[in-house]
């Protein structure tokens, strides 16, 4: 165990010695190469960032009709963002957007279309700002194309949200209608039961009749429930019919597509290439240290001689200008 540990310590010391021998150059390489790589990438990067912001909300009428929760528990912007993620993942949506914005997309071959889809997905980014704002951006070296693409995305997204709202609302209204019908039947049955029980009995008798009072309370509760549901269903019908007309209040462009100042973030090519260069240089330096530490036959410590040759180590002397 000690022999194994001693050999390991000798090797570790050799690695450390190699590292500290070249530490200055290692550090310079570790800083300079990623910096130069990032700088070159920054200079060579002619792409521009086109950004647009969209306001997203749920229809007020849906909220009033109690249908808002039918859609999602998230914020309007996160709902729109999630929907956009799914849409961008579908070729159908991307094809529509590219057909709108890229001239000649329709006549491309399948391979070229696939490449264009891939490029679009890599360059297109989206995210939320707060509860209501959805930000979409596109990195391109042709801002006009980027603006057209974002406009298309916004329009198609709005259509999709409206369609989805409509589907959800229709489903919710249908559910409400069936609930209203059921409540109406329940109410009518309760009323009929109470009326039938009261037939042939005087008012004085009925006022002291506990069973009649129970039937009467049931009929009243069923009636209230029916009235409530009916009101809700009425509101829902109104909301359903108003959906196309209130689109602007639920989904509208706040900031139209425009070229933003270039920002260096973690996803920018300059940072990406810098990080890759940093990792590459670090790995290379580790390899250099590892190889020199193992392969260089030159003595780096007296302990190493003791370990390998069995000669007692008496000590070391500092460097003199001229060793004879």
């Amino acid at each position: 165990m000690e022999g194994w540990l001693g050999s390991l310590i000798v090797v570790v010391h050799r690695w450390l010695d190699v590292f500290f021998e070249w530490a200055m150059w290692f550090l310079i390489a570790l800083i300079a190469i990623p910096a130069v790589t990032g700088g070159v990438a920054l200079i060579g990067d002619r792409s521009q960032l086109v950004t647009a912001r969209v306001w997203a909300d749920r229809p007020v009428l849906l909220q009033a009709a109690g249908l808002a929760n039918q859609w999602s528990n998230g914020t309007p912007s996160s709902d729109a963002d999630a929907l956009l993620t799914e849409l961008v993942g579908s070729d159908w949506f991307v094809d529509q957007v590219l057909t709108d914005s890229a001239v000649g997309f329709k006549i491309l071959g399948s391979d070229q279309k696939a490449q264009q889809r891939l490029a679009m997905r890599q360059s297109f980014k989206h995210g939320t700002i707060g509860d209501h704002v959805l930000q979409v951006s596109y990195v391109t070296d042709r801002p006009a194309v980027g603006s057209g693409l974002l406009n298309s995305v916004i329009i198609r997204l709005g259509d999709s949200i409206e369609t989805l709202d409509s589907i959800q609302t229709t489903a919710a209204v249908g559910l409400l209608d069936s609930q209203v019908a059921e409540a109406r039947a329940t109410m009518q049955k309760a009323l009929a039961d109470a009326t039938a029980y009261a037939a042939g009995k005087s008012l004085t008798q009925l006022l002291d009749d506990a069973h009649y009072l129970t039937l009467q309370a049931d009929a009243l509760a069923a009636t209230n429930y029916y009235v409530s549901l009916d009101r809700q269903a009425h509101q829902a019908h109104l909301a359903q019919s108003a959906l196309p007309s209130i689109r602007d209040s639920t989904f509208r462009v706040m900031d139209p597509p425009s070229v933003s100042p270039k920002q260096i973030d973690l996803r920018s090519p300059a940072i990406k290439y810098s990080m890759e260069a940093l990792a590459g240089v670090a790995v290379l330096e580790f390899v250099i240290i590892y190889v020199i530490g193992l392969r260089d036959p030159r003595v780096r410590s007296g302990e190493e001689v003791r370990k390998k040759l069995g000669v007692p180590y008496l000590g070391s002397t500092p460097d003199l200008r001229s060793a004879a």
Binding site: I9, V12, H13, L16, D17, F20, E21, A23, P297, R298, V299, R300, S301, G302, E304, V305, R306, K308, L309, V311, P312, Y313, L314, G315, S316, T317, P318, D319, L320, R321, S322, A323, A324
Partner: protein, 245 residues
């Protein structure tokens, strides 16, 4: 005549006479007032040599210490000089430093004295043995190599090896430090190292290879106490890391 001259009693007479500055049977001190210069070895270097000797001294009480290295320019002569100087400082006894690297002597340059006349002249030309004193209380004596051609080096080394020179050194001096030629570059170094009481193997940081040191160790007799000194240590590993591992 040579045989008589190179017997142990003759060597001892020569050494004693040279250190006393009086006429010896076969020579006398040419310049009894000549002094060794101060070698360019700093305090830390000498301190490390002292520590090295302290570790070696645990196994060897007194006698002849041979300083060897696999190749040239590995700090062997500096370590030999440093050992001799630290011995003089620590011990009351006289110390002899002998330069037996006859091909490329280095101690004369280190101590700022002429290499010639030295060992070679004494052996070849019947010249007086010249020892130069220096160090603390002038207890350090230097026997320089002298001047010779490459053809005669092997013969000179042979004469030294068979002339009971080391025995005379043991009798006349408390310690003798011998600066030997490189083990892997000369044939005589291994034999002369075998005559010493202990060996100090010198290797230079980031210059000596472990293979060369291994071959050098193989040339030193197994029964000879040997220690290793690493010269020119420029390791930049922080001291606290060294302590840690």
């Amino acid at each position: 005549m040579v045989v008589t001259k190179l017997g142990p009693s003759s060597w001892r007479d020569a050494l004693d006479g040279a250190t006393a500055g009086v006429l010896a049977p076969h020579g006398y001190a040419l310049k009894p007032r000549e002094s060794l210069g101060q070698p360019d070895l700093d305090r830390i270097f000498l301190e490390r040599c002292r520590e090295a000797f302290a570790k070696l001294n645990r196994t060897v009480g007194q006698g002849v210490i041979a300083v060897v290295s696999p190749h040239r320019s590995e700090g062997r002569s500096s370590v030999a000089a440093g050992l001799a100087l630290s011995l003089v400082q620590d011990l009351e006894r006289q110390v002899l430093l002998v330069d037996l690297d006859l091909r490329r002597p280095g101690q004369g340059v280190l101590f700022d004295v002429n290499d010639s006349p030295g060992m070679v002249e004494y052996l070849e030309n019947d010249a007086p043995l010249r020892l130069t004193a220096g160090g603390m209380s002038r207890r350090l004596w230097l026997l320089t190599a002298g001047a010779t051609t490459g053809d005669h080096v092997a013969r000179m080394a042979h004469l030294v090896a068979h002339s009971e020179f080391f025995a005379a050194c043991r009798q006349s001096f408390g310690w003798t430090v011998v600066d030997l030629p490189p083990l892997l570059e000369t044939s005589e170094a291994s034999y002369l190292a075998g005559l010493a009481d202990a060996c100090v193997l010198v290797g230079r940081y980031r210059r000596s290879s472990i293979h060369a040191l291994s071959r050098a160790v193989a040339l030193i007799p197994n029964d000879r106490p040997t220690g290793f000194v690493l010269t020119g240590n420029q390791s930049r590993v922080p001291a606290w890391i060294n302590r840690l591992i």
